[in-house]
Subunit: 141 residues, 4 copies
DNA sequence: GTGGTCTAGACCACC
DNA sequence: GTGGTCTAGACCACC
């Protein structure tokens, strides 16, 4: 399953779904135009209520990540116009500042932190490459 | 005031205090051994309930960032050991992964992202240097 | 094609058809007595289920906009009487009130709003005039 | 009660709440900084489930109309920065076009339509003036 | 006391 | 079959 949700986490389940779908798209496991599971199927797979999945899907649609088509299903959005681009860039910087502060408290030097970030990034890119290869190879996925 | 709290933010106020204190320490505005305002003073300054400040201080102590000394007050810890080092490193990596996913959805390339991170980091280091200078100059702060 | 339908819109497709047919009549692209495409033809052109088109046609007939003649086809009504005149006038006023409230939230003054309404109205009348001219010219569709 | 909701309407109740709150603000019955009823109080008053009110309030907050302050309550927003200004202006024009088409089908002339719009607008402004007077007079409201 | 999340289950509009 | 809305009621975090 490409989506893991932990009910006992302090992050609400519907937010975990949002993050998980975004991550799956970023890793190209889901691609523009792909069909997502129906609200009720995903709810069954994750053993949760369908309202929780619906809430996540509605938020994802509001953010322009997916499209809900009445009576047909849910699809990864094709148009990549990004709403609230500027706010989101600023939020990204904010998240980076929090990381920097935490790194300081863990006694990491600037170099340590940059190395760590690059390591996480190339791990991530590596995983993404695998998925990409899987999906492209003959008979893949 | 070195600490700003926004009641209408979606981030709980006690967490804003925690983040703010950590940032102040990381920027060396507060240094090991410095005395923090009392719970009630800080609550008055921030116009909030003292229970909220108390909760933040308790959490900061639990993380080893500050020390509550009965009858004397609250002080920035002289950091000997960092508790939960491994969990916190993993949480740091997790936060980085979230940033990477969000950067992808904003159509940033890997290079863009690395540049951005370095820019935020050197801005931050710049600010820190200023504070450091301020604090060192005679009659500083 | 004089009728555009967006499946991913939040407005149901059958309502988009209703609105589109009404707009085409108001703009005199379709005139009293004109034949409309059959349910199945229109469904094919718009790549949708014929039940959806049928539902739109039934509603349009109920409103007295078109006439279904068994075995002959569907025609734009030669409007003799408008059913539900009073309810529809009241619904019109309601729609106007919603516009007024939204205009307020967009910080538009009364004058701005009236100007905007007049501008939209004369744009619309302008388009209508063009269609009218097209339809009248020799060989004109 | 300044807010009426009709359960049997085809408009979902949570949307009726959204429209009602916006109308109350536009009519200055509710003013920036005013406290709204709590989620649960309003639900009781309207004899509906608190989740329905919560959904409406969350949407209103997302639109920047109100502010939800944790543990304290819900308030009419003070900052009037309007998000999605351009889209909302375009949606307004769209709503106007629908009105124009419907007016045509009701055999209203352009002049009739403009008169009607102005009449609705001045009625509305009249009501607003009354509320305004009520709220300002000594011991008012 | 305040809003937020979630479930189990119902009913509905649309395709 | 698809998503959307709503209820009754539980539990939770925050202030």
């Amino acid at each position: 399953m490409w989506l893991q949700v932990y009910p006992q986490s302090e992050i609400p389940m519907y937010k975990q779904i949002i993050d998980g779908v975004k991550a799956a798209i970023a890793k190209r496991y889901l691609r523009p135009g792909d069909k997502l599971p129906t609200v009720r199927d995903l709810a069954t797979q994750l053993t949760m209520n369908h309202n929780t999945v619906a809430k996540a899907y509605q938020e994802l649609e509001r953010e322009g990540v997916i499209e809900l088509v009445r009576g047909r299903g849910t699809f990864v959005a094709k148009n990549v116009s990004v709403p609230h681009q500027l706010e989101r860039m600023e939020a990204l910087r904010d998240a980076m500042r929090k990381i920097i502060v935490e790194a300081h408290h863990l006694n990491l030097s600037e170099t340590d932190l940059l190395d760590m970030f690059q390591a996480v990034l190339s791990d991530w890119t590596g995983e993404q490459a695998e998925v990409y290869a899987d999906a492209d190879e003959p008979g893949g996925r």
